[in-house]
């Protein structure tokens, strides 16, 4: 009887002491299609058209985090980020960021926003290549560097494009952002008429 009473009185203390410790600390980074599901991703793109997806982050780091998602675009021959091996050894793409998405996410919370994007590009018939002019991301226009293009891939029969979302995280001690070793991308086919 006394043991039961003691246990009842001690239960608030026990609920604080007997907590399973968290051992895994990570961030989820994901892209969903237009229906908020992991399908119906844009693939065949046309110049001047706008496409919708959702970009999401899940924070499981144990504290409120300050993220930066760098939006980059590459063709088949350009540098891609890495997301395997030890985090310290993973590298971001060397390409410049076309747009930065800033996000603050509380611990054990999910942040998700609708994103619209579209490309303005032209087809160079003589060189059999697509020349990129600009990316419109959430209504903001960002120009590509001069000469940014992709050539016809005879194996896959498409003009390859890769829209990448690199995850960077603010480090309070260094007062700067570091590549989190995480990225997602959308493989695209730039169609021409």
């Amino acid at each position: 009887m006394i043991s039961i009473a003691a246990l009842l009185v001690a239960s608030p203390l026990l609920s604080k002491v007997l907590v399973w410790p968290r051992t895994e600390f990570f961030t989820e980074l994901y892209v969903l299609g237009s229906n908020q599901t992991a399908e119906d991703y844009p693939f065949n793109l046309s110049s001047g058209e706008s496409y919708g997806i959702s970009l999401g982050l899940g924070n499981h780091l144990g504290y409120c985090a300050y993220y930066l998602v760098e939006v980059k675009f590459r063709n088949e021959s350009q540098s891609a980020p890495t997301s395997f091996g030890p985090v310290e050894d993973r590298l971001p793409s060397s390409l410049p960021s076309l747009y930065n998405v800033t996000a603050f996410v509380a611990d054990e919370s999910v942040w998700q926003v609708p994103v619209s994007f579209g490309f303005d590009y032209g087809y160079n018939n003589s060189l059999l290549r697509v020349d990129f002019h600009s990316l419109t991301f959430n209504g903001n226009v960002s120009s590509f560097a001069e000469g940014e293009s992709t050539t016809w891939n005879t194996t896959t029969s498409r003009f390859y494009g890769d829209l990448m979302f690199e995850l960077w995280r603010f480090n309070s001690s260094s007062n700067g952002f570091r590549y989190d070793g995480n990225f997602v991308d959308l493989k695209l086919n730039m169609t021409v008429s």
Binding site: I2, A5, A6, L7, V9, A10, S11, P12, L13, S15, K16, Y63, C64, Y66, Y99, N100, V101, T102, A103, F104, V105, A106, D107, S109, W111, N140, V141, S142, S143, F170, S172, N175
Partner: protein, 157 residues
């Protein structure tokens, strides 16, 4: 006279060209300074929120404001890259304005959370622990007292 006039016109053109260049330089420098200031302000506010969260505060309301400021900061950075210095300055300024009074709100939230945490500690950790020990000690005392009384009665018999 003619030569003097030509020299004066040339000087005026050079002076105006110079001032245009200086104005343009200042505008870019101003934009970069404004964006850097906004960057600093956002990271400072983030630290305030992180501290408040560490103290146990519910920071969801603060994060909504911080995310809205983050959108403006992203626009400022993009404008800077695209060379739209006025737009960059404007967005950076709006970002900083959005965070007016933010750190004091975060600090006040942190302080109330710290007080609540302290109260929670006294009530749920110390109170609960002391209560449990008191129940066990009290139970043992009663048991010891009853046992002693029983042995006295048995001794008398």
């Amino acid at each position: 006279m003619k030569t003097t006039l030509v020299v004066m016109v040339l000087l005026a053109v050079l002076a105006s060209g110079g001032s245009v260049a200086v104005c343009h330089g200042l505008s870019e420098a101003d934009a970069r300074a404004a964006v850097a200031n906004a960057d600093l302000r956002v990271s400072f506010c983030y630290s305030a929120v992180a501290d408040a969260e560490k103290a146990g505060a519910n920071v969801s309301g603060l994060l909504v404001t911080l995310n809205a400021a983050g959108v403006l900061l992203s626009e400022a950075h993009l404008a800077l890259i695209n060379g739209s210095f006025d737009s960059a300055s404007t967005s950076a300024g709006e970002c900083v304005t959005k965070l007016d009074g933010f750190d004091s709100a975060a600090n006040s939230l942190r302080d109330s959370a710290s007080q609540a945490k302290l109260m929670d500690f006294w009530l749920n950790v110390v109170g609960s622990g002391v209560g449990a020990v008191a129940i066990v000690a009290g139970g043992f005392s009663v048991w010891w007292y009853l046992k002693r009384k029983q042995s006295v009665i048995e001794g008398d018999a």
